[in-house]
């Protein structure tokens, strides 16, 4: 009788201990996994959008007195030129822009054109790099003439 009771108490205690430990471990791991899930989902959306961006350069020459670059959104997502980066021969160039809007939302939507206006005093063939808000690179060569 005493042996039976001891065995029962021992079994109950061991069972409770195992359950408690399992609960603690599952709490710790689920707390961290939930946070990572949200971040990974945002990262996936970021890279998915980046892969759908595509821009075409419509002019391959421009006058240095009023230089401009005309681009067309030929991708599948809207672009926001306000956070574009423009580099000419490796130098970051400030610019203003005007979108030839079909749909009036201040975004460069698919099939819409935009003109980028800036200052650049040097002539000749120059390497132009345009980088979107999500970091997608578009490169071309443009001839600056006087």
């Amino acid at each position: 009788m005493r042996g039976d009771l001891s065995q029962i108490f021992g079994a109950i205690t061991g069972f409770i201990l195992i359950i408690v430990v399992i609960l603690i471990f599952s709490y710790i791991t689920s707390y961290n996994v939930q946070n990572f899930d949200k971040i990974l989902e945002k990262n996936y959306e970021f890279y998915e959008k980046r892969s759908l961006e595509l821009v075409d350069f419509l002019n391959n020459s421009t006058n240095i007195s009023n230089p401009l670059i005309i681009i067309k959104n030929i991708g599948k997502v809207s672009l926001d030129p306000s956070c574009f980066s423009l580099y000419i021969e490796g130098n970051k160039i400030n610019f203003t822009y005007q979108i030839n809007e079909v749909y009036h939302d201040n975004l460069l939507n698919p099939s819409e054109n935009a003109a980028l206006y800036f200052s650049y005093p040097n002539t000749g063939w120059k390497k132009v790099v345009l980088i979107s808000c999500n970091g997608k690179r578009f490169e071309t060569l443009i001839y600056f003439y006087s």
Partner: protein, 153 residues
């Protein structure tokens, strides 16, 4: 009497088992809460790294001074400490000077869409360039430096 002693023995055994369980769980809880603390800190580090995206946009080269400048933009949502940015050329850590080319917000942090310039002294050639941010996110490009130009791809 024998039945009574059996009950007492069982009660003692039960109490001993309960005390042993309590000691074990309280000791384990201490270790587990430390473990959870360490995991929370690790999770914060990994989260900041996952939310951070930097891009080496372009480079320029001054042939007279042999200084190559790499323009790096923060395109993630996590503000960074620009002064802790490191640059590796062909796997070797180089001394560099860092300054802001484009600031949007009036604060010392390297915020989203802001661009820094990381400058190093290099002769012309082809180099593997890796820029690593303060939280460990990085971008890596090949830099082609000639006497007259610098390109990254």
């Amino acid at each position: 009497m024998r039945g009574f002693s059996t009950i007492i023995a069982s009660a003692i055994l039960f109490i001993a088992a309960a005390v042993a369980a309590y000691i074990f769980v309280s000791g384990a809880m201490g270790s587990l809460s430390n473990l959870q603390g360490a995991m929370i800190e690790r999770e914060k580090l990994i989260s900041s790294r996952l939310q951070s995206v930097i891009d080496i946009d372009a480079c320029s080269y001054n042939n007279a001074t042999n200084i190559a400048s790499f323009y790096v933009t923060n395109r993630g949502t996590y503000p960074l400490n620009a002064s802790m940015t490191k640059i590796f050329i062909n796997g070797i850590l180089f001394n560099s000077t860092i300054d802001f080319i484009q600031k949007i917000y009036n604060d010392p942090a390297w915020n989203r869409y802001e661009t820094i310039r990381v400058s190093v002294t290099l002769p012309s050639g082809v180099y593997q360039v890796r820029v690593v941010s303060s939280v460990g996110s990085y971008d890596e490009k090949i830099a082609y430096i000639t006497n007259t130009s610098c390109s990254v791809s």
